[in-house]
């Protein structure tokens, strides 16, 4: 078997043994279900917990199903991204620290296969979790409200998957470049969250940046984003992913000597 296959099997087994492959999807599903349910019970919740004066009447418009799906996306952007980053912050930096890395680095290791096997495993887990979570949300929205058109849902989730892959690539590259897991998490959280804030503050001046992918994904629910902007954004995101992959492989190789024995 080639080296990539062997390393990928190692990653697979590791993710199985530390249960990441189980609990990450479960958490995404939970947040996917919670959003439609809280929206559905909002009037009752306000009634019983809202501390409103006697006889107060609030007319809440019934939210559109697309809006709820977008709210789920908002949850994922905050909690979901933090979970993915924290879960994979140590995949390379932590391995160097714990000593697993020395077992690998003494062998004639192809750092490309080493890095890509980790990337593929994390990517599969991340994208699968998000899809399962969004599908759970979709089903609950269908039961409690109305159906969102399946085609727009698929376009929405497909676009968002590119964003997940970008985040995963950022974490792994940071994990390869930084001396420890905490630093890797700090750098990737800063990149993902501050860049998004910067993009939402100044982003009016440009129409394509990888940070706009979630926004474009949400636009699929209501119709169609501007196609040329959309494709440029996707192309830019894929270019970013490739660049970060090369950077990560290079860094994994360069920093191999920092592994603790």
């Amino acid at each position: 078997m080639n080296q990539f296959g062997v390393l990928f099997r190692k990653e697979w087994r590791e993710n199985l043994r530390n249960y990441k492959i189980f609990w990450i999807p479960i958490v995404f599903i939970l947040f996917g279900i919670l959003e439609p349910v809280t929206n559905y019970f909002l009037p009752q919740l306000l009634d019983s917990l809202g501390n409103l004066p006697e006889g107060a009447v609030i007319e809440l418009p019934v939210p559109q199903p697309e809006e709820i799906l977008q709210a789920v996306l908002g949850q994922y952007q905050l909690i979901g991204m933090a979970i993915l980053i924290l879960a994979y912050m140590g995949s390379i930096a932590g391995e160097r620290k714990s000593g697993t890395a020395t077992l690998l680095y003494v062998r004639p290791l192809s750092f490309r296969d080493y890095f890509l096997s980790k990337w593929l495993m994390a990517g599969i887990t991340g994208v699968m979790s998000v899809w399962l979570g969004l599908l759970a949300a979709y089903y609950y929205i269908f039961l409690l409200f109305e159906q969102v058109e399946i085609i727009s849902f698929l376009q929405f989730a497909g676009t968002y998957s590119v964003w997940i892959l970008l985040v995963i690539t950022i974490v792994l590259a940071a994990s390869a470049a930084m001396p420890n897991a905490g630093m890797a998490a700090a750098v990737s959280l800063a990149l993902v969250f501050f860049m998004q804030i910067a993009d939402s503050l100044l982003g009016a001046y440009w129409t394509f940046s990888p940070m706009k992918i979630p926004a474009y994904a949400a636009q699929w629910l209501y119709g169609k984003p501007d196609m040329s902007d959309y494709w440029w954004t996707l192309a830019l995101a894929i270019a970013f992913i490739l660049a970060l992959l090369f950077f990560g492989i290079w860094m994994a190789k360069r920093k191999a000597s920092t592994a603790k024995v």
Binding site: Y19, K20, I29, I33, V37, I83, S98, L144, A181
Partner: protein
Amino acid sequence: MDQSTIVLLLLPILFIQLGLMIFALVDLIKNPNPNGPKWMWAVLIVVVNIIGPILYLVIGRRNY
């Protein structure tokens, strides 16, 4: 929608929450070297809904 269907809809949330909590607790008990004091994690997992078990799994487990 009648009452029983709504209860059926809410059951998965309860199961997932309880499942995560029990899973995190069992893992904590078996974990010889968690990241931080064991009793603190136990309290966090039980008291803080949803976020507690997740925090333990991502930070407390040292799974890297």
